[in-house]
Symmetry: C2
Amino acid sequence: MKDFTFYNPTKVEFGKDKENLIGSYMAPYGVKKALLVYGSERIKASGLFDRVAKSLGENGIEFVTLSGIKSNPVISKAREGVRIAKENSVDAVLAVGGGSVLDTAKVIAAGAVYDGDVWDLCSYKKYPDAALKIFDILTLSATGSEMNASAVITNEETTEKFGFSSPAAFPAVSVINPELQETVTNVYLAYSGVDILSHCMDLYFTASYIPEMTANHIENIIRTVIRTTDVLLKNPGDYEARSEFAWAAAQALNRTTFAGVEGNRYDTHLIEHSLSALYDVPHGAGLAVVYPAWMNWHLPMNPTRYEQFARNTFGLQTAEEGIEALTNWFVSIGAPVKLEQVHIDKDKIEEIASHIYRTIEMARMQSLYPKETIVELLNRM
Amino acid sequence: MKDFTFYNPTKVEFGKDKENLIGSYMAPYGVKKALLVYGSERIKASGLFDRVAKSLGENGIEFVTLSGIKSNPVISKAREGVRIAKENSVDAVLAVGGGSVLDTAKVIAAGAVYDGDVWDLCSYKKYPDAALKIFDILTLSATGSEMNASAVITNEETTEKFGFSSPAAFPAVSVINPELQETVTNVYLAYSGVDILSHCMDLYFTASYIPEMTANHIENIIRTVIRTTDVLLKNPGDYEARSEFAWAAAQALNRTTFAGVEGNRYDTHLIEHSLSALYDVPHGAGLAVVYPAWMNWHLPMNPTRYEQFARNTFGLQTAEEGIEALTNWFVSIGAPVKLEQVHIDKDKIEEIASHIYRTIEMARMQSLYPKETIVELLNRM
């Protein structure tokens, strides 16, 4: 194994009804006043908001709110949250929602203890080495943000989708009650499944080195996501599948998949970010479009790994069969695999390629992805 | 998955030469004076002691020492450590050694902030809710203590082998440099392999419920231990195998194997503890003796799981084949599988059974293990 540091101090409270105890999870950290961040008012209709408010009240925790967080979260909302957090001197941020709400909460938590514009912290201008305590009740498992130190957010003015990674951004406690995710639509379940797989596969296919135990760990997560997504699309109430799906999502980006790994990159994520930022394509849908084209292009660079993928995740023999099986699986769960399916015309390719290239430059990957390669990839999508 | 809490704040610094940075890992926790706990003076001959002392000095950390910790560590040594820690007002304990040294260090760290006798904390009289900061440089991977909140120790006067589990006992930072373990003898490597497997198998075979993803995770650790032990017995210098072995050991008891599991017990550990406590049998050797007899006796209670074990770890079909393969593997690596191989006469069985029964009573498992069952198990060993 290559040298590594493993550190993940997030406490995960996993299971039924645990959101009703959120106040008791926060109180030991000395929280007196929190900013409650959420997406739509649906959490009021479902009763979730009231149950959270009750538990906070029972534990002597006051709160103020910020709502209206949408998927592909934006920096303007985080700025609003930072203002509210500072004006109300809150000492914690509580996210109730999916990855977009949680990432916004992380950015707010870091921004609330920073004097300048919070975008500085997301655009590599200033490292966010401190933050308010972060808590969350997860209502959609996909991004893995509930068990890691990262946040991603879009600047609507510049259409840049950046973020940060800092130990200060680990949630102190993440509540994962799979039952809260039963109302996720099949479409979003499919997108989430693709997102989780991509967190595994970006690393798995690009790494120059993966220890066998770590590779097998990643394959276990991939198999779990495929198996449980298939069950859930037919039976959204299957708690067993719902809970394994949720735990797989957390595992996929909690650094266990990085143990002893070298040379991994985030190629498809970097490419997809432009589709989300420019056309507001859901992240998981964008990834499903990028992946088949990218895998077929990338295969010659790591043929042994693709063969192992085919064997250990689908029980197939050749690399090509594995890629085909994954593409077919995307189609079978209703994920788009072509640009036209997310309503992007081929005549936009030059514009998108330029946008992607800016991200590629930031990541210093120009030699791997000269502009003509990006255009070629987009043409295959 | 059943409800669970996952929490593991230990930072693992894994890789070559990392022990030379131990002072820099401790300094951020405000450590000014540490108690350095170790086993034999071999760490002086090897230069490890000097390198640790140098790094501590460079980071302004003073230290006092406690040496002479042996395997199956004893409470008298921990009492000595507590006295030194209190007299010198140390604010951290640094273990340099294997699981016995680390467990002693954990007990000392808890005892140093407790007013009564430290055995109170190990014998369920008083819960150890606080401790000095704990750090370690691991020289033998087996017990998994480097990434968990537990410690086990023997009271020589009462021959009781008890311990505790408390969040206060998580090491703050564990340094795992697989190269430091290259000098472990083949005999101890074999015992360590058995110990790690038993951490996985106790849970795997006894749990009334294991989610498929968690079961596959456990099987991955088991396969890794078997594969890497075989490599290392032939080539102790194989860094790749050495490092996967070490990471597997940490994974086996860092709570990842417990995710969503219900009803697991530690049957073979409870039984083996008496062999260690009464006859000073190395823990891993004792486990190798207990396991074959126990599995054959236990098989009818969980036949499906034994079949899955055979299939997913050895690629075999039937439960019986799996048990036979594991027993043969123990023999092949030089582990004892009979009491006589650890020099225990059959005429001691009544005495041992009584001792085991006391432990079984403490664990409230009398209905599963009436005394005649224990005698029967011992007769099969």
